[in-house]
Symmetry: C2
Subunit: 126 residues, 2 copies
Amino acid sequence: MADATAISEAEWQVMNVVWHDQPVEAQQVIDQLAAANNWSSATIKTMLHRLVKKQVLAFEQTGKRYLYRAAIGRSDCIRQASSSFLERVFGGAAAPALMHFVQTSALTADEVTELRRLLDRKEGKS
Amino acid sequence: MADATAISEAEWQVMNVVWHDQPVEAQQVIDQLAAANNWSSATIKTMLHRLVKKQVLAFEQTGKRYLYRAAIGRSDCIRQASSSFLERVFGGAAAPALMHFVQTSALTADEVTELRRLLDRKEGKS
DNA sequence: TGACTTCGTTTACAGATGTAATCTATCCTT
DNA sequence: AAGGATAGATTACATCTGTAAACGAAGTCA
């Protein structure tokens, strides 16, 4: 099944930090995730390593340390994860998924407005 | 990480058949999935077995055969998978996820209308 | 009633994942 | 320059997943 870029649960957490703070040193990732997840620093190092091997992360060496940065855009990964989720859980049907999220989420008035705007645009196009 | 009920990719396929045709015999599942996924019948039997062990599936024995039926509602699983997806990919923020899906999906006019209706209701409540 | 078929159970095995200890090379400090 | 701290690499290991063959019991057909 392995899609081109399959990022696991734990790896997503690491990548989210990377995308946010890029470029980052391992230590920064550790600072942000170790305590929160009760992970040892070794665990995070392993994940960084695996992400590099999967070519989701790239790094540039400065002296002894590495500076990591994403090799794949966050939006690409989101696209891929979303479509895989959609396929798996909703058989690929976006509408039911949307309805589910609309009904089960707390949305601010602004968010509702924005969504409505996107829907309008959508309608115009069809 | 294993949430109460973690259903894997392949298992979702099986469950989708079960929820749809419930109660089902193994053979029915095999008929619907084996060819499409290029799975041997043994593979599907394994998945049924594992789902029973995970208590996602229940069965009732009639003679030699089993009649399987879901032990967990589809909507419960959807809720759980959706929230896990949301957490993992969007850090739990529903609005960005919704926007993503609205923008990247093809929606019929009816679906758009329905979504708008749900949003209206949402707004009324806040 | 014996042979064949079929269904569920067991066993198998490789790769992915979560989780981490250990090793090694290197940089900083005294 | 020697010693300690540290970063990345290597090794470890249990569990989960995908995928399936093999096995044993039971129903079916001739």
